[in-house]
């Protein structure tokens, strides 16, 4: 067991909701604050979610609040938009560099690795990819720091007002549930209002993009997109609550789990993080003893295998 559980990460909830079980596992009896900002303009359409949770929910309305804050504060809006433009441009450049680095890596991984020389060169190619990922994250963080320094969002009235309201809503709740949706939109809103700080030590439930936003590194992925090579990309640093975990929601559809080379590449690239497939019914818990499964799960192993795991998973670092 994970010990005292502070976070439960779930598979997608729309078709086979397991939220009620997760709430019971947390031992929460009171109201639950929900974040559905990733649904963007559909943020308020949370009836099904409330039904799945099985108790009263309080939607924090982060998407609406962010829209309101931006409408109230044109300077903040300009700075925010400029930051997003920079991040988009940076992501595109990174994607181009990454394509070459990953091509090299895939080519070498395809070689007969019985010789030490090939293994060593493979490791070197992988190191280059990991360095590029790390460099990208640093560049992203630099842009965020510049924004924080220049715009000081936490000190602006438009944000402070919304933040106070969110804090008041959270005060009446025992837990926080973070739904999926658009991962960048969700992450930006959670960060803009400092929701995790406001939530304090309340236990958290998160799924899909919600789980990704809470991880330390947000990786976007799809092995078979209709356009492009399907290179998983580092998007952002996440909020760091899902320590050592790389959540891979909708893995069955998005990943070629039967292709050991692709699995191996992903698992080695993001090691030592626990790369865990999160489909319907999957549940992981984080607590004082690290990660553990609440239902049998699948971990992507550096060997290229997809391992069925049950019980303690360790710390992912």
């Amino acid at each position: 067991m994970a010990g005292q559980i502070s976070l439960i990460v779930l598979g997608p909830q729309r078709l086979e909701p397991t939220l009620a079980e997760a709430v019971a596992e947390l031992g929460v009896g009171g109201h639950i604050a929900v974040v559905t900002a990733g649904w963007q303009e559909r943020e308020s359409e949370d009836d099904e979610l409330t039904q799945a949770v099985g108790r009263r929910t309080v939607n924090l309305e982060l998407y609406r609040r962010a829209e309101q804050a931006m409408a109230d504060d044109a300077t903040l809006f300009q700075a925010y938009r400029a930051r997003q433009d920079q991040l988009r441009e940076l992501q595109e450049i990174y994607g181009r560099r990454l394509a070459h680095a990953l091509d090299a890596c895939r080519e070498l991984l395809g070689l007969d690795d019985s010789s030490e020389l090939v293994r060593s060169e493979c490791d070197e190619a992988m190191r280059a990819v990991r360095e590029l990922d790390a460099h990208h994250l640093q560049a992203v963080q630099r842009i965020h720091r510049q924004f924080e320094r220049a715009a000081r969002p936490g000190r602006r009235r438009a944000i402070r007002r919304q933040r106070a309201e969110i804090g008041a809503l959270l005060a009446g709740c025992e837990a926080l549930a973070v739904a999926g949706g658009h991962v960048a939109v969700l992450l930006n809103r959670l960060r803009l209002f400092g929701v995790l700080e406001l939530a304090g030590d309340r236990p958290i439930l998160a799924w899909s993009a919600g789980a990704m936003a809470l991880s330390e590194r947000v990786v976007v992925f799809h092995d078979s997109p209709p356009q492009g090579a399907g290179n998983a990309e580092m998007l952002e640093t996440g909020l760091g609550r899902a320590v050592g975990l790389l959540p891979l929601p909708h893995a069955r559809r998005r990943l070629r789990l039967a292709d050991p080379n692709r699995v191996r590449l992903l698992a080695r690239r993001f090691a030592p993080a626990l790369c865990v497939a999160l489909d319907e019914g999957d549940r992981l818990a984080w607590g004082s003893a690290g990660w553990s499964t609440l239902a049998p799960a699948r971990r992507l192993a550096p060997s290229g295998a997809v391992e069925r795991v049950e019980g303690p998973l360790g710390w992912g670092r």
């Binding site: 078709l15 990733g38 658009h182 960048a184 899909s208 993009a209 997109p225 209709p226 929601p249 559809r253």
Partner: protein, 377 residues
């Protein structure tokens, strides 16, 4: 050695042996690069009738001496998809039938054909109904047309969870009902939008009672689409006003209608999806394609001289087994020279609705990409 060679190795087989052979295999039988077609029954001749440009349109089967078993062994490139019928000749009478041993059928406005999926061809799973996908809906609409002097009925595909606060691309689909019936367009849109591969969009599914005239670069059609249809849809639904949010799509003559409309109304339509376009042209002398193509040839010759820039992005496709492959390949460099972003794709298939269905994912996701990489619900 192929299965049919094995069967015949010991001389003409007994009827029971043939029964067993037919029961043990699925036909047509793919073995490596070769495909064996089989027919069993009485006839004077059996022929394979197909629409593969490059092969004789009628290929004779061979009868196994002393039996009613007929076969044809044909080498087919990897990934081929072939629509065909069997022609039976009996007492001088000819009859076209579907292949009784092949359950796969493809439908079109003229009926149904048997379909061969050669080695390497995969029917797209995204064209099958998905329980998870939120279905869009079809609504009827009529538009008064001064250009044609009548009233036009059409259907609109509206994506699931349409909201007035959002702006959606509008895709005008020529031969829209045929795309619905024979290319599963509604299922494809539902699935690709649900998977976030294609942005939620509104599709105007239009038709024509006289498509060989109206779709043949007829200026009235361009006026109808640009000046009457689009404003009527915009009035009722939240449509993206930018050219990037306006697309035209069609196959065969429908592709000519799409291209010619965009050409006549430059800067209005930013996206073009052109499938197996009937883009007949001449470098010198008259066209041999027949009178119906004359206005097309005239338009294409003008277009080739003065293409302008009809759109921003174009996806074009053609089957390698179509007679139009030359015209479509010829068009690609010309489209590229206009400064448009062009994606061109070929398939080992013919001029048919399932070929066009199979290219929809690539084409639509290129023209109207969805937030696939960012959305995890």
């Amino acid at each position: 050695m192929t299965a049919i060679e094995n069967l015949l190795a010991g001389g003409p087989p007994e009827a029971a042996t043939i029964d067993d052979f037919l029961a043990r295999h699925q036909f047509p039988l793919n073995e490596g690069r070769t495909t064996t077609f089989v027919y069993r029954g009485s006839a004077d001749q059996v022929r394979l009738r197909h629409w593969i440009f490059g092969l004789p349109s009628s290929l004779p089967f061979e009868r196994v001496d002393g039996t009613d078993l007929w076969f044809l062994v044909q080498e087919l490139p990897y990934g081929s998809r072939i629509e065909y019928k069997l022609e039976l000749v009996t007492g001088g009478r000819r009859r076209l039938i579907g292949d009784p041993l092949n359950p796969h059928l493809a439908h079109d406005p003229y009926g149904a054909n048997s379909v061969l999926h050669a080695r390497g061809y995969q029917s797209p799973e995204w064209a099958e109904p998905e329980a998870e996908a939120r279905p869009g809906r079809l609504v009827d609409m009529t538009v008064k047309s001064a250009a044609f002097g009548d009233e036009r009925a059409l259907q609109l595909y509206l994506p699931a969870r349409l909201r007035d606060s959002q702006r959606y691309p509008l895709l005008v689909v020529h031969d829209g009902w045929d795309y619905l019936r024979y290319s599963r367009l509604q299922t494809v849109l539902d699935n690709l939008i649900y998977r976030q591969e294609v942005a939620p969009l509104v599709a105007a599914l239009i038709g024509s009672g006289d498509r060989l005239v109206e779709y043949a670069a007829d200026p009235r059609h361009a006026a109808f689409v640009a000046d009457e249809l689009v404003p009527a849809v915009v009035e009722r639904y939240p449509i993206d006003p930018r050219p990037a949010g306006r697309g035209l799509m069609g196959a065969s003559f429908g592709a000519v209608a799409a291209l010619s409309t965009a050409w006549r109304r430059q800067d209005q339509f930013g996206r073009l999806l052109l499938q197996s376009g009937s883009f007949a042209f001449t470098d010198i002398g008259p066209s041999r394609r027949g009178a119906a193509f004359d206005p097309v040839v005239e338009f294409m010759n003008r277009f080739r001289t003065d293409p302008g820039k009809p759109a921003e992005k174009v996806y074009a496709s053609c089957g390698q087994y179509e007679s139009l492959i030359y015209e479509n390949r010829s068009l690609v460099p010309l489209l590229q020279e206009t400064g448009m972003t062009v994606r061109y794709s070929e398939a080992r298939d013919g001029h048919n609705w399932e070929n066009w269905r199979d290219r929809l994912r690539e084409g639509l996701s290129f023209l109207f990409p969805g937030p696939l990489w960012m959305v995890y619900e």
